[in-house]
């Protein structure tokens, strides 16, 4: 067996994007994802609840030599600042790893995937600012 074994889970009790998903339910989703993809699932690390803290995620990606990547429920769990997000993705790629996003069913494995991800996030942000209704008269 390779030195790298499966995906390390990442969960958070904070709300992310439009979602608030209890941690046990996130764990179930991650475990199911790994089972479907036939990947070994590593117990998830649970992010701190303080807003804007990514201490656990930053710590987790410091050394991914034992894993093929990390898995989390959604792209909205990544840092909100694009620059920080890109830097984080790059650190994951530098270790030969990928980021698996269950809800979006995306694997972020290289710079091209980051562009797609960024596009999605920008569109989502713009769409949320669009008016819900327009007066027609």
């Amino acid at each position: 067996m390779s030195d790298r074994q499966g995906l390390r889970g990442y969960v958070t009790a904070r709300g992310f994007g439009p979602y608030v998903i209890p941690v046990p339910v996130q764990s179930l989703a991650l475990r199911d994802y790994c089972a479907r993809k036939k990947l070994l699932y590593g117990l998830p690390a649970n992010e701190n609840i303080f807003p804007h803290s990514y201490l656990v995620l930053e710590g987790m990606i410091a050394d991914l030599s034992s894993y093929e990547g990390i898995v989390m429920c959604s792209m909205f769990m990544l840092p909100q600042r694009a620059e920080r997000r890109r830097r984080l993705c790059q650190r994951v790629f530098d270790q030969g790893c990928a980021i698996h996003l269950v809800i979006e069913d995306m694997v972020i494995a290289g710079p091209q995937d980051v562009e797609k991800l960024e596009q999605l996030l920008v569109i989502d942000q713009l769409a949320s600012q669009a008016p819900k209704s327009i007066a027609l008269d």
Partner: protein, 273 residues
């Protein structure tokens, strides 16, 4: 002395002082026969799960489970045992019996107990069962809880868990923000020299406050760690976030008669001026 001037016995005061100093205590379990029987039930359930005959030496069987179960099947075994044992009506009461006095002295005698007791099985060199440096309060759990952590085999060094004792943990947690870039792994590097690797032989139980930093690393001992953990909090203390509150995570276990009477009391009404 017939007329005491303090409310605590000397023994309880010394336990409280030790706990407040380090944030943990290790004691003999309060019912050794119950521990042996509980472990036997776990061993029998594990044997059933892997089609193995019940062993003569339960400790040796658990210590060497990595020779019988590949790491790919470890989480399935752990979850199977977690579900099976937590469905037994005796499991939580027996677990509580192992440290009743200890928990009641530290937390109170009206308690809520975690709904399910967690299983940890950490095989040598296994990287899938890591619980990095953390404090449970950081994830939204109540700061008013303790963890009863029970090894089913002798544990020491990396086969055990580590803890950062209270004054040091409190101090470093105050400047958590300074580690935003490097994250918890940078924090781990800073606190590593001060970590206590708990040496807990089978037959003893650890009770600690998960408000302090703690966790585990890859087990580089030759044998597998088996441990159980479960949380208790005072029934009438603030709970954590929704998924860690009464009902979803905790349930009352020792509500006292006066509390029951109080809860049942209904003020007479219907009067008119």
């Amino acid at each position: 002395m017939a007329l005491p001037e303090t409310f605590q016995s000397t023994k309880d005061a010394s336990l409280a002082e030790e706990f407040l100093g380090a944030a943990y205590v290790i004691r003999d379990v309060e019912d050794r026969a119950a521990l042996d029987e509980l472990r036997r039930e776990i061993v029998i359930a594990a044997c059933r799960a892997i089609n193995h005959l019940p062993p003569e030496d339960d400790g040796a069987f658990l210590d060497n489970i990595h020779h019988l179960v590949p790491v790919e099947n470890l989480n399935a075994l752990r979850l199977g045992l977690y579900r099976e044992l937590n469905a037994k009506p005796w499991f939580r009461p027996t677990y509580f019996k192992l440290a009743t006095h200890l928990v009641e002295t530290l937390v109170g005698n009206e308690l809520a107990m975690q709904n399910r007791i967690n299983f940890s099985i950490q095989m040598p060199e296994d990287r899938t069962s890591l619980l990095d440096l953390h404090a449970d309060v950081f994830a939204g759990e109540t700061p008013y809880q303790v963890v009863q952590w029970l090894p089913l085999v002798d544990v020491r060094g990396t086969k055990s868990m580590f803890i950062l004792e209270r004054p040091k943990s409190d101090k470093v947690c105050q400047r958590l923000k300074d580690f935003s870039e490097g994250g918890m792994s940078a924090l781990f590097d800073v606190v590593k020299p001060d970590l206590r690797w708990l040496d807990i032989p089978y037959g003893k139980v650890l009770v600690f406050s998960p408000n302090v930093l703690h966790g585990n690393v890859i087990n580089d001992e030759a044998t597998t760690r088996w441990s159980l953990n479960c949380r208790y909090t005072g029934l009438f203390t603030p709970y954590g976030i929704g998924e860690r509150s009464l009902g979803s995570y905790y349930s009352p276990i020792t509500a006292r008669p006066v509390t029951r009477l109080g809860m049942a009391y209904r003020q007479p009404g219907g009067f008119e001026e």
